[in-house]
């Protein structure tokens, strides 16, 4: 009874706009911080780090939708999956832009050199590139044009995005041996993906469109 109540709430038309507002909160907080000198001693680094970490957090939440809706019998949750995924992408864009602007001053040559010189930048760029087709097909017309099955298959790439994103974070933090936070992300991702592997009966089955 309570669960179906929850489902009804999840179906309310104003719930999606509410989620958009929630999704914007970290970005707005960072913007306010940037304008009011509230991002600490190294605001550029804070911005780059926080936008990157929020991209991972939203991605992890996106990956939480399916397990949660099956375990808690909340089918209506699926309405929010795409919003969360697009939010992860928007934060990844902010992360990339703040790196290109604040760290590299828009000097394209420096960015290109960085990509080929440094593993973690390369992996970060790769993560973004794999995310790109998912973001570009995240509106209704794209789903119709592709057809549901193809669209779903394409969006299985989100698993690759999550693993690449985690690797990017790890490679950065490993430079100063500071991987405890990365481990928290890794454990949560292992649970999110592990649940799928067990539930679907193997990695290949997880990648198949049902």
């Amino acid at each position: 009874m309570a669960l179906s109540m929850a489902n009804q709430w999840l179906l309310k038309p104003w719930m999606k706009p509410l989620l958009w507002v929630v999704c914007a909160v970290p970005a707005v907080a960072l913007l306010v911080g940037a304008l009011t000198d509230g991002l600490g001693a190294n605001p550029a680094q804070t911005l780059i780090q926080e936008t990157g970490q929020w991209a991972l957090r939203w991605l992890w939440l996106t990956l939480l939708v399916t397990p949660l809706r099956e375990m808690a019998a909340l089918p209506a949750l699926v309405r929010y999956r795409r919003t969360l995924g697009v939010t992860a992408f928007v934060y990844a864009v902010l992360h990339l832009l703040s790196y290109a602007w604040l760290d590299k001053g828009w000097v394209i040559d420096d960015i290109v050199a960085d990509v080929f010189k440094r593993n973690f930048i390369l992996v970060g760029m790769l993560t973004f590139l794999v995310m790109l087709p998912l973001a570009l097909t995240s509106f209704n017309a794209a789903i119709r044009a592709l057809g549901g099955r193809k669209w779903q298959l394409l969006h299985k790439l989100v698993y690759a995005v999550s693993l690449l994103g985690l690797l990017h974070f790890y490679l950065k933090k490993a430079a100063k041996n500071d991987v405890s936070e990365v481990m928290v992300y890794a454990v949560i991702l292992a649970l999110l993906l592990g649940w799928r592997v067990v539930r679907r009966g193997g990695v290949l089955a997880m990648l198949r469109v049902r």
Binding site: A41, K172, A175, S180
Partner: protein, 346 residues
Amino acid sequence: MPFILTSRHAAHPDSGRVHAVPSEITPQAVYTNRRQWLREAALLGGGVMTSALPWARAQAQSAPATSATVTRPGKRAALSAVRSAVPGALAVDKLTSYEHITTYNNFYEFGTDKSDPAEYAHTLKTRPWTLSIEGEVGRPLKLGLDDLLKLGAMEERIYRLRCVEGWSMVIPWVGYSLSTLLQRAQPTSRAKFVEFISLADAQQMPGVRSSVLDWPYVEGLRIDEAMHPLTLMAFGLYGEVLPPQNGAPLRLVVPWKYGFKSAKSIVAIRLTEKPRPSSWMQANPREYGYFSNVNPTVDHPRWSQATERRIGEGGLFAPRKPTLMFNGYAAQVGSLYAGMDLRKYY
């Protein structure tokens, strides 16, 4: 011969020109400063006296008018000093704020976040504190903090600090040359390297329970680097004793090397014939070398070292500044590395 040594050869313990008890001799720079100060004070009258008052309390006879460049933040006990006469010791860069210097720290013994040391380091007990100087020395020493504070004339030194992570600060330290301390212990001819060992007490330092590095934190210098007059044993900053998060009660400051070389909260200094790998070399030998001189042409494997971000300067969108060879101290220390391949010895 002036006490302030200008070349590494004069400072070498084998030179035979090392004073037995250097601290009993007033450095030339101090008495010259003092005379100049007396003249200026006489000329300017009350104005100078007033501005110099906070400094004058403890060491009235040696406080020069020029000390007043730094305004004490009034957070900790005063540590008076004279402006250093060591060449290169007074950078003209704009000072980083006390707030930033004391809240943005790498001090893994208190956690890996930059804000952790300011939050947790208050548990560090800086008294009683004993520093032992051991190894290849004629006179091994165990010195208490009060002895250490009296051992040399305290100087104000404004140094640039460049972190290996690509940010930098400008910090007004208070302390005296490490050579003053080392000469007390009479290094033998076999003393080729100097190890610095930081406190590692899990009771006081929560980060020591994590395995992020092998504790205690160990750093090292070649003896000529250690004896260089710019190599500082710091006891304070901004005219006050060091806050715990900055490495109280005493730390090393080597301004031409990346910040991690400047070991904090030191309990032992060991002179040796062979170098010992530092903590960071043990953790990641490919990325951290023994010398770790600031060098814009040798990148860290994970990021460029060509530029840096000066903390607190110019706001969010200020462009990064170019990093200078030896952090801008090439004129003073470049000769230490003459003929060395700095790509190989990074």
